[in-house]
């Protein structure tokens, strides 16, 4: 078990390094550079050159990568290229820059997951036990619709209903300077509903089919013949076996959240990591882009490892492998 974990972590580090190379290469291949992007069209050639040399943009790509990596491994994540000029010193450390938005995104994701897991298990089991009934059909139609709609469409529909028509909730996630998202909790509702619509639906479908499969299996038939109650069969046998594929699909959806949040944050102008990421790419701000990309990749890999551990725990045969 420990060896398994260590091996996975070693691979995770290698993966992260590869991600850093790819992200760096991709950002460097993009036309334009941070100096131009930050200074805008009024910048005279002399001003441009001054900033380019300050950001090492006049050096080779390899030097720039090495400069970034050698500082990164020492825990110096660097400074946002966007705020190098103008001496806004209070704002230009990347840790400071990322911390707030990362916390905001985490709040969004964690609440979504906390609601997603029990709701999808409950709805999936209900739909499975009444397979073919009206409840099952309604769940199927609603969840298939939710899966087919892209998040930005779901988000727009929710805004049209709850913000524009009913005026119950704010359409855009505005928070004041120095405020956290928890100070204005009503802004969380619509983004979370949008994320839930996309994730719960998929989980429900998966839980339902794996529970149905489990209920069809020989051991359930044997249990029924032995005269065990339906609820005992469900919770002691069927559900436990159905959980392994469900954990996988839930983990997949949590990983999807890492990317899906970027889209949802844009729709609601939510002040999270996704919005910062988009802005950093637009500004060719390589240190910030790298740091966010690696953070997201690390979360992705961590979720993967966690899901594997849970499945290993649920399915005893895998523990020996």
């Amino acid at each position: 078990m420990l060896r398994f974990l260590l091996r996975r972590i070693a691979w995770a580090i290698v993966t992260l390094w590869i991600v850093s190379v790819i992200v760096f290469a991709a950002t460097s291949v993009l036309s334009g550079n941070a100096a131009r992007a930050v200074l805008g069209k009024n910048a005279a050639p002399a001003t441009l050159h001054a900033l380019e040399s300050e950001l090492h943009l006049d050096r080779s790509v390899f030097y720039q990568y090495w400069y970034w990596l050698s500082h990164f491994v020492r825990g110096d994540f660097g400074h946002s290229a966007a705020s190098v000029i103008g001496s806004d010193t209070a704002h230009n450390s990347i840790i400071t820059l990322i911390a707030g938005p990362a916390a905001n995104s985490a709040i969004l994701a964690v609440i979504t997951v906390i609601i997603m897991i029990p709701v999808s298990l409950l709805m999936g089991v209900l739909a499975a036990t009444r397979a073919g009934g009206w409840m099952d059909h309604v769940t199927a139609i609603v969840s298939l619709t939710a899966i087919s709609l892209p998040e930005f469409v779901t988000g727009t529909i929710l805004v049209a209903i709850f913000a524009t028509a009913l005026s119950w909730l704010p359409p855009v996630s505005l928070i004041g300077p120095g405020q956290g998202v928890l100070d204005v909790p009503q802004i969380l509702v619509l983004p979370i509903l949008t994320l839930l619509a996309a994730t719960v639906a998929e989980c429900v479908r998966m839980v339902r089919s794996s529970v149905i499969e489990a209920l069809d299996s020989d051991y359930v038939a044997t249990a029924r013949l032995a005269g065990l109650s339906e609820s005992r069969i469900m919770f002691s046998y069927a559900l436990r076996n159905a959980l392994a594929p469900s954990v996988q699909v839930i983990a997949l959806n949590m990983q999807w959240l890492v990317g899906g949040i970027v889209v949802v944050e844009t729709v609601f102008s939510y002040p999270g990591l996704g919005r910062l990421f988009v802005s950093a790419v637009n500004l060719r701000d390589i240190p910030t882009t790298q740091s966010i990309a690696l953070l997201l990749a690390a979360i992705y890999i961590a979720l993967n490892i966690l899901a594997d551990l849970i499945i290993t725990f649920l399915v005893p045969e895998l523990r020996l492998a």
Binding site: L30, S31, G32, N33, R36, A37, V38, L39, G40, K41, N42, A43, A44, P45, A46, T47, A50, L51, S80, A82, S83, I85, G86, S87, D88, T89, A90, H91, L97, G100, T156, V159, A163, T164, S167, P170, P171, V172, L174, I175, G176, P177, G178, T266, V267, F268, S269, P271, R275, L276, V278, S279, A280, N282, L283, R284, D285, T288
Partner: protein
Amino acid sequence: MQPDARFEGYAPATDVAGTSRTPTPVSRRNFLAAGLGGAATLMLAACGGTNPTPESSVGGAHTNAAGSGSRSPGGAAASATPTSGGTLRIAFVGGGNAETLNPTIASLADIDICRSYQLFDGLVSKLTLDGKIQMALAESLEPNTDGTLWTIKLRKDVVWHDGSPFGADDVIYWLNFLNDVKNGCDNNFMCQLFFDVKNVKKVDAATVQLPMMLPVADLASLLAFESYGVIKNGTKDFSHPVGTGPFKFTSWTPGQQSVFSANKNYWGGAPHIDTLQLTSIPDDTARLNALLGGQIDGAATLPYAQAKAYQGKGENSPIAVLVSNGSSQTYFTLGMSQAPFNDPRVVEAFKLMVDREQMLSQVNVGFGEILNDLWGKGLDYYDTSIPQRTQDIDKAKSLLKQAGHEGLTTTITTSTEKSGQIQAATLLAQQAKAAGVTINLRQVPADTYYSTGWPNYPFGQTSYETAPIPYFYAAALLPGGPFNDIQWTDPAVANQLKDALGEMDPSKSKDKWSAMQQTIWDKSGWICWGSSPWVDGLSKKVHGTTPVRWQLASFGGYDFSNYWLS
């Protein structure tokens, strides 16, 4: 109308240099009164008496603005007395974490430009709607006889937000700040071209002498643009800026929101509102949703088609649409140093292919006005005597034939950086077919349009906010300027421009600027087909928005000190 004593005593000092560009004394109160509504404005204009004060021009401008569809939200006539207090909440596209409060680099995002005008003042103000420049922190700008030394007299009644008095030391520090390449200031090129900052001299506590490296006949016209906010002596950090502007800094998170409070001691008169909240909402739909949902009171830059739809609803529209006219535009650029546009006949043929009416009605949905391949229609120095260029396909064809470029195929670099930009390029490609020219579109991502080869695109587009004519041409055509987007490097043109910029005799100056613009009209690779006004959405409880007083950008040049809430 009793003019406020604080605003009297402007010396019409640039008389020596200017013809009609003299900064006219104006009281802000008069302006405020002008804001009370069209009828009042016209009445005031009628009472204006002997001297042509700007009230009359504002009245005219109002009619003009009303003509292009803008109206005062809530009905100007209904509410006569501005009420004080409240929080005005305005949203812009924003600039992500590159947003800055440093007023010398405030050009990347509209919200930066807007904030710099709330917190800081320039030596001179923005352009008024009739194209004039008024003094701001400077009381007067006076040149010596040949325009090589300018004496800047400063207002003596200005205090910084921290209570300390404003004076010559601040201006000298600010000029040196602009001059230092390391600071990356937008107007640094002006220090390389004109301002001899090393030899700047303090005459007394309120007077500064700035020598010029080239003769400058009209210094105000080089100063009336963005990124010229004067900073306090010793300023190095802009995270808690101290300015002189109508609003004071309270708090700010880059890319999210700032909160400013009214400067009750503002030298130009205190704002009506107590608090100004400026928010970044990058997504167009989200910004409009926030306005419709009542989270904000104003949304900057509505797409034209959407604005037209809300205008069409008349009184039933849930929001008011404000149109701020000016000479902002997105024009085509032909790279004159690259084939095929190094042949003047091809350049002229391209200018003759354009159907400007169709461009305006389709791309701008009728907003704006037709332009004549020249910068700055409606501003000082603009030559109205040059005939309007119109589409002439036969002449275009014969010019292309002479040049040996019949059936020419070329590529324009375009993007969605500015609303309507790619539509204009597409429509141009259609119009060019009549002359047998094939124009292919090369689309680059909006956020990289100005960082991927601009200003050296062989065939592209540039969008620019209203800048005075001398400023614009100096930035574009003098060697060392930031954007020669048509790559016009003819030394004769640069010399002609320097000559016009330095001409001290008003009548000769007029002729030289006319000749300069004739040269540009004849030869340049600029195709200026139409102006693009700024169109914003406002809640109906916002008043004092019309008449639009300033040019430059959204909300009548970010004129929030005049707005009030009901």
